[in-house]
């Protein structure tokens, strides 16, 4: 390319800055720095495998009951019934569907936990600081729009294939809405309430934890919900770098043109998405909308409390 003669009407094809080659240098760096990356990788791998083993160790029926109870507590009776039906259907999709779903759930949970740990502080900072918000916005846009295959390769080169890379690519894609919505939530807090807190002697930390975060919670939970949904949408792509679970089923079915297997994997992902979405949406709604004040006044905990209070 570069040996082409310079043409003023087409200046681009004759100049080669070598960007692609220098970006490739990441590979060399990764190979020579294995020692640093390996312990970090092991830590995250242990986290993911731990959650996966935990979820798969619970007998499916007990897990089902637990999920229904969580749904009842977080989102009310209707959602609990929906979750019960959906998860039963999921279990009957194929003999190994439940186990695959739990593996996928483990990946999603790990990714969401890490997103929350990274995203909440960044979101708070973006909500408080206009300059940081302006600086981070193009980064978030890039993370959301750049095709996953672009960063799939460098991530695999750095860390190798497996769960950890899967979680990292999932985080890259799923993190932005949490940061955006946390920032939005912090900015949306009524300024006069914050002023009142200042007027009564609260320090910045107290204002954050006693006023801003509680009032921004519904918006932040909407961000968590979005993050979960995007994480699920990444499971098929993540399975290309050897992440197990429902996504892997879809990928293998694609390779063998096995429509039945693809349907099982696809439906499993959809059901998981519906269940997680309804539960987290329920958490985002204020108790007032559902006619009570505190979470412990309703759901299974509320029922138990009432029994205890009677005796």
């Amino acid at each position: 390319m570069a040996d082409k003669e310079f043409n003023i009407l087409d200046p681009f094809s004759s100049v080669d800055l070598g960007l692609a080659e220098s970006a490739d240098g990441v590979k060399q760096w990764a190979i020579s720095n294995r020692g640093i990356i390996q312990p970090i990788k092991n830590f995250f791998n242990d986290l993911i495998v731990g959650i996966d083993n935990g979820l798969n160790a619970v007998p499916p029926l007990i897990m089902l009951v637990l999920l229904v109870l969580i749904a009842w507590q977080a989102a009310g009776r209707r959602v609990a019934i929906l979750v019960a039906i959906s998860m039963t259907v999921l279990g009957f999709l194929s003999p190994n569907a439940w186990g695959l779903a739990m593996t996928t759930l483990a990946i999603v949970i790990s990714a969401v936990i890490l997103c929350f740990i990274i995203g909440l502080p960044l979101g708070i900072l973006a909500g408080k600081n206009d300059r940081f918000e302006t600086a981070i916005r193009p980064v978030l846009d890039t993370m959301q729009t750049i095709p996953a295959f672009v960063y799939l390769v460098p991530v695999v080169m750095l860390i190798g294939i497996g769960n950890v890379s899967g979680v990292i690519v999932t985080i890259i894609f799923a993190l932005p809405p949490l940061i955006r919505l946390t920032s939005l939530g912090i900015r949306g807090v009524n300024a006069s309430v914050v002023e009142a807190a200042r007027a009564f002697g609260a320090n910045p930390r107290q204002i954050l934890f006693k006023v801003e975060l509680p009032l921004a919670t519904p918006t932040i939970l909407a961000g968590v919900n979005q993050t979960i949904m995007l994480s699920l949408s990444m499971v098929v792509i993540a399975s290309m770098i050897s992440v197990k679970g429902l996504g892997n089923e879809v990928l293998r079915a694609m390779g063998r043109l096995d429509a039945g297997k693809a349907l099982v994997g696809g439906l499993g992902i959809v059901i998981l998405a519906i269940v997680l979405d309804r539960i987290t949406q329920g958490m985002g709604q204020s108790g007032r909308e559902r006619g009570h004040r505190h979470w412990w006044q309703t759901g299974p905990v509320g029922a138990v409390m009432r029994v205890f209070n009677k005796t």
Binding site: V193, A196, A199, F200, N203
Partner: protein, 360 residues
Amino acid sequence: MGSSMEEPVIDCRNLWKIFGKHADEAMKAVQAQGLGKLEVRDQFNCVVGVQDATFTVNRGEIFCIMGLSGSGKSTLIRHVNRLIEPTSGQLFIEGQDVNTLSARYLRELRAEKIGMVFQNMALMPHRTVLDNVSFSQEVRGHDVRERRENALRAIDAVDLNGWDQKYPDELSGGMQQRVGLARAIAADPAILLMDEPFSALDPLIRRQLQDKFMSLSAEMKKTTLFITHDLDEAIRIGDRIAIMKDGALVQVGTPEDIVTNPVDEYVADFVAGISKLELISAGKIMEPVEAFERHSGPFDASDWPEAHPDHSLDDLVNLSISTQHPVVVKADGKAIGIVTKNALLRGIQGDVEDASTLKH
């Protein structure tokens, strides 16, 4: 009330606040060349919020700042607890310059010495009434039982017993503002800052809350800076009133001063619609006995109604309604002046000069 004690609790000296990017340059130009508000706006693209405000509030006094919206009164009151930093000037609270306090002592001052009530209540929607009221003590890290006791006492003082476990959105507007008042007094601060506390309420509720506030205030004797855009309210509540216009205090005085001696057209316009019945005293409109005798000759006041110089026009009307005679004003048993019917009528109009020199 407490103005006899003459101990300034809030002492504001030549306070200026200019908003804008070039506020400091604008301030220098104002000091050097005496620029006006419009010149500052045009030359520096800055807005003058407060112009050279100087006033003191004595211990136990209720000092009202009255002005229309945009006159800078809410900006001025926020300098007292330094929610806003002044561009120039000083503000002392009990002799301590607020603007030299470190962040830590400033927070201590805000939490323990100053209570503030806001026009839009600014209650925390996620906290119960009790938790709202005890907020300032909570951030100071006071003992749970102690702050609960203080909060319940404050809630009781504003007649909201039994509502302490409710949330603000379960309360009516008037009740919410009572919570605001309870929050301000819970830590028993020396100073109350009231930023148009009753403006957002309907007239009947406003009246009730004014009465509640005045009875509380008489009991607690807190030094109060009270902002309002309602002159009636300022006159009802204030021991002294400052009229604010375009960021400057144009007149400071007792309600009677302001109503009877407005310094300029602007104040006079405000005062025009105010009922003078409760504000003007017999002493202001009476004609001295000698002057009366000069034009009407000696008189026999034995069956004339008698009044004290401090009696209001309202009292004088009641006295003279059942008789044809003028009212004789007596101090220490001695007649010092006469209020004729004509003088009384002029007085009701607020025309004090004319009332005491009426030709008969």
